[in-house]
Structures are given as structure tokens and as C-alpha cells.
């Protein structure tokens, strides 16, 4: 326990000091941290899921508070909570199935359960998902019978408590933890491979001799473009430099080393160039539940330009960037204001910032926001690791990843649990 405590503190510190850059790294490290938190959690005999949820929530809350701007932290915490709930549920349903199959004796239950590995946790989770959630488009399409007798609000903790009488407690607790850790491992895997999954779809979207415009730098975009290039597509890329951090310069350099025809333009030239562009492909900081995007500053302008010229505006986002909150949610901090020194040199302007004379207040104010909000109506398509989606579909996708119980992670709810 002290071991994880130190890890948590260390990570908190890093988050606070803004030392971890990029949502993917943050998401991955958060998931890894939560994995070790789960493995260290001592399991009680009853209501194990609740214990796990409690400890994950306790850590998650602090992580989110440390850097509320980085929504990926909250997303991963909620994903892990969802995983715990799902695994718990699948165990319960498995136990129930076992009960139904061998209703005669309680003793057989034990062996029965061991015979059940064929029924993988994931499959059960998928099945139970459909039973627990209001009918999702996916389930409807897959034609899984929607026998949702259990309302999704019913606490899974209570469920498990009721049913755990029948199951062998010690083995179940080990099983739950084990399953959860397995699933979190899968999540980590997902996060680290999301680039490849997204990039695989590149050929379907980028066509021969097209002109693609992007702003700033995003690893997802880089991989996406390179994947298309590797499939022998030849196209041109316009890179807007992305002031004030000018990460577009790095992207342009990287693209050129990979052999892509690249044109670097200033951000302010985007509108002039957009008529020659076939598609805008950009990365995102976070995708909100309404399909709105929190993206590096300048992208709203690009999106508006694209709309004006009817150029498709495509956003690439790994599933860890899907945030179950709406942008008007009070917990969502949309923006972070960084140091003005990225915009101008303090030394050169030090005489404008002399408060000793005049009215004693600065006449010069430098604002350096990090993000823009791009409303859903400006986005043509989201490409996530599960495929392309319309902005209006995002809330459905999000419903697959998160439980409604976890949307608000405040102390109030934890104590209530």
C-alpha cells in the first residue's frame, strides 16, 4: 500500500506541474497507476466490486483534481470504473448461469465455475452490457435480444452482495481482481495501439492526389498520413504552423523525412489556402459527449474556414479521448492559459509592463489559451480506433465505454457508496 501511495503522489506531482505532455501518455500512465492501485487493494469478503470502485474513485478524484484540464485522466478513471462494474457483473451472471445449470446443489457450483472459462469475461461483459443498457444502436444491429429486465441504475454492488452467497467467496474475489487487471491491461494495450488502429483506416479516407490540411502537430495525424503514404497513396499535405508553439514545424519536418510532399503555411493563411484543400485532418485534445471537440487553439478557425468551402473536417481521436461529459458541465475546465512568454519576449516588452508609472496597471495583456472548442456541427467525421463516426453518434459510443454512475466523481458519491 505505501508503495502505491508513493506512486500516486509522484504521478499527482507530475500532473500538477504539467510535466506529462499529451493525452496518450497521460492516459497510459493513469491506467498503469490504477492497475497497481487495484492490485494493491485488499479485497473484503463481501461487496468486492464496491471496494475496488471505492479505491479507484479515491485515487481518481485526486488525479483529476491535479490537472483538470487533461480530460484523459478522468476518462481513464471512468473507463477503469466501468471495467470493474462490467467484470463484476459478468461474474455475477456467470454465477447465475452456473446456478441455473446446476440448480441442484451449491457444492457443484464451484466446479461448475471452473468449467466455465469458455465463457470469457469479455463475451459475458458484452452480453451483460446489452442487458444493462438502454438499447444501443450497436446491440440493435447485432440483433442481440434485448432482455433488459434489470434497470441500469440498480447498483451492481448490491447485486453482487445478494448473489455472492452462492459463489465461493475467496475464489471469486481473486477472480474479480484478476479479471479487472486483465481488462485494464487490455485498456492499456488499446491506448498504446490506438494510433495504429486509426492509421489502418487511412487509405479509406485519403485518396490519390488529394490535398490534406492540418494544424499544429498530433502524433495520430502523423501516423495516419504516413500510413496512407505507405499504401502508395500520393497526396500533398498543408501544415499550418500552429502558433504560438509552432509544433507544425516539427510535423512538417517529420513528414518530409517520411517522403511526403509538404507545404508549411502560417495559421493566418489557412482561409486563403482552404479552397485548394480536399480534406482537413486534425487531432483533438478531447471529444465531448455532444460531439464537440476540445482541440489545440486555432482549430475552430480552421473548422469555420472548412465549413465555408465545404471541405470535410475530420477529427482523429483515440478512444481515451472520448469524454463522457458535456462541455457545459461545471467540472469541465475547457481551457488552460499558458505563459505569455510563448508569444512575446519579456525582456523586449519589459518597459510596457512597468507598473511604477502611469496608472499602475498593465496596459498590455497577453492571453495565451491552449485550446479551442469546435462545436459538433463543424465536424464532418470522427475517426476513432473503432472506425468512423458521425458527431451525433458520439454519445452512443461513449455509452459503450462508461457507466452513467461514474460521470460525476465527487467525494459525495464516494461516501455514499
Amino acid at each position: 500500500m505505501p508503495d502505491t501511495q508513493a506512486l500516486v503522489n509522484d504521478f499527482l506531482n507530475k500532473l500538477k506541474k504539467r510535466k506529462i505532455e499529451g493525452s496518450q501518455a497521460t492516459a497510459k500512465q493513469t491506467a498503469e497507476l490504477l492497475r497497481s492501485v487495484i492490485s494493491q487493494t485488499r479485497m473484503p469478503y463481501t461487496n468486492q466490486a464496491a471496494a475496488l470502485i471505492h479505491s479507484v474513485k479515491a485515487v481518481g478524484e485526486r488525479l483529476i483534481a491535479a490537472n483538470p484540464v487533461e480530460l484523459a485522466v478522468g476518462n481513464v478513471v471512468r473507463r477503469v470504473l466501468h471495467i470493474v462494474r462490467e467484470e463484476d457483473l459478468s461474474l455475477t451472471t456467470a454465477a447465475m448461469a452456473g446456478l441455473n445449470l446446476s440448480a441442484e446443489s451449491d457444492d457443484e457450483d464451484d466446479t461448475d465455475r471452473d468449467n466455465h472459462p469458455a465463457l470469457s469475461a469479455a463475451a459475458i461483459a458484452a452480453a451483460s452490457r446489452s442487458t444493462l443498457r438502454p438499447p444501443s444502436l450497436q446491440t440493435l444491429l447485432e440483433d442481440v435480444p434485448d432482455s433488459a429486465a434489470v434497470p441500469h441504475t440498480s447498483s451492481s454492488g448490491g447485486d453482487s452482495e445478494g448473489k455472492s452467497k452462492s459463489a465461493d467467496k475467496s475464489s471469486r474475489s481473486r477472480k474479480l481482481k484478476h479479471d479487472v487487471i486483465e481488462a485494464v491491461n487490455e485498456l492499456i494495450q488499446d491506448i498504446s495501439t490506438c494510433h495504429e488502429l486509426i492509421a489502418e483506416q487511412a487509405v479509406e479516407h485519403i485518396h490519390q492526389n488529394e490535398v490534406i490540411l492540418t494544424l499544429g502537430s498530433s502524433r495520430t495525424v502523423l501516423e495516419f498520413l504516413c500510413a496512407a503514404k505507405e499504401k502508395k497513396r500520393s497526396f500533398r499535405v498543408f501544415v499550418a504552423e500552429g502558433a504560438p508553439r509552432y509544433q507544425g514545424h516539427l510535423l512538417a519536418k517529420e513528414l518530409v523525412t517520411r517522403g511526403l510532399q509538404t507545404t508549411l503555411i502560417t495559421d493566418s493563411a489557412v482561409f486563403a489556402m482552404i479552397s485548394r484543400v480536399n480534406m482537413v485532418i486534425v487531432g483533438a485534445h478531447a471529444v465531448m459527449a455532444n460531439g464537440g471537440v476540445i482541440a489545440p487553439v486555432g482549430l475552430n478557425m480552421v473548422a469555420l474556414a472548412a465549413q465555408k468551402h465545404a471541405v470535410p473536417f475530420v477529427v482523429l481521436a483515440g478512444s481515451h479521448k472520448l469524454c463522457p461529459l458535456y462541455p457545459h458541465h461545471p467540472e469541465v475546465l475547457l481551457n488552460e492559459l499558458r505563459s505569455p512568454s510563448e508569444l512575446l519576449d519579456f525582456g523586449e516588452f519589459s518597459d510596457c509592463l512597468d507598473f511604477g508609472s502611469g496608472i499602475g496597471a498593465p496596459l498590455l495583456h497577453v492571453v495565451n489559451p491552449t485550446f479551442d472548442y469546435v462545436p459538433p456541427k463543424l465536424v464532418s467525421l470522427f475517426i476513432t480506433d473503432t472506425g468512423g463516426h458521425n458527431p451525433s453518434y458520439m454519445y452512443r459510443l461513449i455509452a459503450d465505454y462508461y457507466s452513467a454512475d461514474d460521470l460525476v466523481l465527487e467525494r459525495r458519491t464516494t461516501s455514499g457508496n
Binding site: K17, A65, D345, F346, G347, F355, G360, A361
Partner: protein, 725 residues
Amino acid sequence: MGAQKKGATARVSEDPEELARHPLQAILLADSFTTKFRPITLERPKVLLPLVNIPMINYTLAWLESAGVEEVFVFCCAHSKQVIDYLESSEWSSQPNFSVTTIESHNSISAGDALRLIYERNVIHGDFVLIRGDTVSNMSLTQALQEHKDRRKKDANAIMTMVVKQSKPSPITQQSRLGTDELFMAINPVTKQLLYYEDKAEYSKGFISLDKTLIADNPSVILHNDKQDCYIDICSQEVLSLFTDNFDYQHLRRHFVKGLLVDDIMGYKIFTHEIHSSYAARIDNFRSYDTISKDIIQRWTYPFVPDVLCGSSAIKVERQGTYRASDVTLSRSAQLGSFIFIGQGTKIGNDTKISHSVIGERCTIGSNVTIEGSYIWNNVTIEDGCQLRNAIVCDGVILKSGAVLQPGVILSFKVVVGQQFVVPAYSKVSLLQQPTQQDSDEELEYADSTSGTGELRSDKLNGDIAPDLSETASELGTGGVGYIWKVFEGAYDEEWRHSVAPIPTDKLVKLMLDRDEDEELLTQDGNVISASGELKTDSDGNGSEDDDNEDSRDDYVSFEKEVEATFLRAVHENVKVDLAVLEVNALRLSYNMASVDCGGAIFYSMMKLAVESPHNSASELHRNAADIVTTWQKLLKSFLHDIDEEIEVILKFEEMCLESAKDFAALFPQILHLLYDKEILQEDAILRWADEKEGADESDKVFLKRSEKFIQWLREAEEEEEEDE
């Protein structure tokens, strides 16, 4: 553990420089050894004073931690117990990979003493960062450290790297934006070696003197006055032993740095590292407290800004730089301006206006209160109708209704200001009486260190504070509690320089005037030293004999010269017309001249410039004059308010054509026309001049005759106009 062992084995193989794999250490002096923050520092150490609601030392520690320092020795002296208690209860005591150790001393009276004590403790094992607990920075140390280490490898005498930053001093007040005196540094541009350091240049002398060997020994030297000393030093161990060897080193800069620069026997060298995009500044006085607070609110110190340091859930940044804690009670009609900070649990009443201010936690602010540019700490009560401008208000202060704080007021802890009482500008108010043993000696700078005993004194005072207060209640109005500290003779002049309030305009004008005098003398004669000599005679001349007519004539001549120099400088340096007007006005005031004289003098300088600029023919001269008049017509016009003044200009011109600038004689009518065209001279003025001249001697009429045609034309035009009407 394993890593350490590995390091130990590696030591054997690698060269001795590389083996210096010590954890990076830092010495943090949690005592400024000055009295600039009195009376506040009598009750609380400077490093614990809130800076945008967070104790200063937190900024320093957070920076050290993020810069990769692993071990910090906090040297506490004044109020050491408070500092130690604070650090123990804070998050800093339990950080992984970042240890904070306190070193306590009760008898150190200077930074020198502190470093000697640390040397005795033998805790520093390699290069270390020397910093004060009142420094705010977000620079990265990596590069500076690397440079320092590389230099050390080449030259063991390079024992210190000073961090500097560009910051232009105000040309008027000769002080930086942080309220410190203009700093002169001579730096070798190639090696970055510091060759000269002077922070107490005497402006009255008007020059600084560099050692001649300095120029002889270095192929190039750049003398900077636009660098700010950040008081972040990367030092080698030798620095500590040097302090021990030279027991008279007290002040880090005044004694140590200057001592090393002068001393050429040991050959120790100091280098500089300039930072560009990152921020670093030290809170040295109330002005820098104000400046750095505003820098923090404007986020120059990112990520060391309140919302990040406290966790953004507690404090949110809103539009226009408004920082607001989550549970602020705000009246609907309160008006919050830009760049303000409001802490937890503060209540703000109806129609209260706040701008550019920091308000701490749990404050109660009534209705119709105006707060501008002020720093209000925690648990302050401000009743209805108070007005605060550029003041610092410490914890627990109560302002009864209608109280007014004028700019620059400091209210120390728990002071009560009575109803409707106006606290005069720049006053410092405290519950503690002003220490009586005041000598204006330099030594006093260090007296803060005795506030270990100062603390005791305050404890004693607490006992018998009640009887004292009843006597002095009147000092702060009815119901007021506290003593207004007296300002010492001489110190008052300087009070406005370092206060939280912006410098009043009248002071600026006065300063500008002084500066003009100096510059004027410099331009008169390129030689700096003789200029300073002249300054003396000049001031003598002005000061001692001032009542006879001869002298006022002299005054006018010297005034004319000054105006001319000012004008020439304005032309050469492209000074804005507004500024030039201000400067000439300042000159006018100082020489007690009428604006008639200004107009004449300016016109004189303009024409003189035209004559002096190269020309071959009369037409070229005319063009020169036309150019100059066009560019500076606004300057001239701002001194020509009525016809008499305009006539004065014409007379002046006439005089010039006869005496100093005969070239113009031929051009007289043309220039007159030009001035008329540019609407500098009205036709009335010209006509009246002509009328006046009508009755004069023949010799005097030369120019009138020459311009007869023009005047004729003017008269006709006038008549036509009249006919039109």
C-alpha cells in the same frame, strides 16, 4: 539503493569531474537581512508573506523542485520558528525525491554569516543553487548548470554563474520595474564573464568608472544597463569557503561579487547566464511585490500560477484574468474588474468595485467599497464605503466604514482604522511601536536579523498592548488601533520609489527635468567627465546667485541652449512630439520661463538645425526648413497660444536673420509664408507685426520691406474675406 551502488562503482572508472554525481543541492535563504518590508516583517517573516495568496517561499520551493533540485537547505533566522513550523506542516516535508532541511540560526545578521554557518555544517558537497526565499522563477536550470559545469572543467576559477534577464530600466526614474536601482554590468559578450557590477551608481555624478585594465584585458566588453539580476546563482563549493576566508563579506552582491571582481590575486571568475523566455525575479521591496504579483496574475510565471499551485478545482481563472475561488459570496451588483484574485470564503457586498487587486481568504467586504491595485490578505474586514488605492492590508485588519487608504499605505497585522479616517499616503501602520533605536546607517539594513529578538519584543508587547492602545487610539481615528510609523528625514523622498503605488506624475515630471539637465550637459560636450564637472558649476551658478538681471538674461540663454539640445535629441532619436512637448514644458518650469520664450526658443532651434544641415543653395535651405517645420509643427504650435507669442516668433526670426543665420535673410518672406501656410502663424500676427514695424527705424524695416508683397497679399485676402461677409 542499487543505483547508488552503481554510481559508486562507476566512480572508479570515470574521470573525477564526472564523478560529481551528487544530488543537486540548493541553499535557500529564508531571511532577506533587510528591513524593507517593515513593519510587516516584525510579526511575520518575509518569506511567509502571501504573494497572490500563496506564501512566497512556496513559489521558490516549487520552482526548485521542478528544476530538479533534490535537497534544499532552508536557512532561517528572523522568525525562524514560524518558518520551520510552516515548512513542517506543509506539503514540502513529505515530498519524495525532494528533501527540505531547515538550518536555524539566531545570531546571523547577513547573508555572509548564513553561508559561513552552512559551511561549518558541511552539508554542501558540490555545485549548489543559491537563492532567496522571495524569488519567483520558472526557468529551467539544466542549461545553466551544464554551462557552469563545462566552464568549471576548463577553468577551476569559474566559481559562480549568475542568472540575469533583460529588463529595461525606466529612463525617467533610473530604476527597474522591480523598483531596484538601475544596474550596470559589464559582460564579456563571448565568454559571458561578468567584469563589472554596480547597483548603486550615483546619478548625481553622472558617470561610472570602469577599470582601465578591464578594457585592456578583454577584446570586447558590453556594458549593460538593461539587465536585471535575478538573484539566482549557481555556485561551486568554493563560494562557501570564500565567505569563511573573508569574514567581512556580508552582502552577497555588494561585498562578495564586487570583492571577487576587484580581487585579481585569486583570479576567481563569475559568469552570467541570460534567460530569455522564462521568468525570474526577486521581491526586494514593495514595488517589486506589486510588480511580481501582477506578473503572476498575468501568468508570466506559468506553471507557478495560483490555479495550478492550488489545484484548479479550488481556483478558477475566468475571462480577463479573474481568479476566483469556488466559494466566494459575491453580491449581484458588485463590479469585478480585470486582473483580480479573490480567495476562499470571501464575501463582497453591493456595488463594490474591485480592480487589479488581490483579496485573500475569508475577507468580508461591505457595500460601496472601492478597491484598486491593493493587496488584501486574509480575514480582513472592510466596512461599507471604504476606499483603498494601492495599499497592502495584512491579516486581520479592520477598516471601519468610510475609511480611506491613500496610495502606498501599509497596514500591518490586526490594525483597526477608525470611521471616516483617512490614512495619509505612504504611511506604515502597525500595532507595534516603531523601534526607537534608529540610526540611518548602512548597518541598519541587517537589523532585521535581530527580529529574532523582535519577535520577543512583540510577545512582550502583546501583554500590555491594551493600555497602550487606549492612549494612541486617536492616531487612527475613533476606534482605531495602531501606530502610524514616522518616516525618517530623507527617507520620505525615496518612499514613493519603492512603494506599491505607482509613481505620482509630479515626481515623474520632476525626474524628467533632472534628467534633461544631465543629458543636456552630456550633449553639450561629448566628454563625460568634463560634463560632470560642468554639472557642478552649473548647479552652483543656478543655486547661489539668482537675483540680478544679468542672471535672468543668462538664464534665458542657457534655457535656449537646453531647448535646442532637447530638440536636437528629439530629432535624432525620433522622440514623439508629445514627449518632446512634455520635456520642453519641464524645462520651462525649471527655468521659470513663459511659454512665449519656449516658442521663440523652439523656433530658434528649428531654424538653426535647418541652417546647420547641409545645403548648397537658398532653395535647398528653404526645403530643409520646410521639412523641419512640417515635421515639428505640432511641437511649435503647442507653445504658440496667442498672437503675442506668434509675434515673438517673428521677431526672433528677424533677429536670427540679422545675427546668427544670415543665410535666412534672403529667404525671410518665403519662410514667413511657409509658417503662415502651416498655420503656425495667423495672419493677424503677421499683420500686427507689420503694423508695429511700420513706425520703426529704416534699418529695422529691412525684412518688412522684403516681405511687403506677402503682407500686401495677406491684407488683400483679408479685405476680400470681409467683402464676402
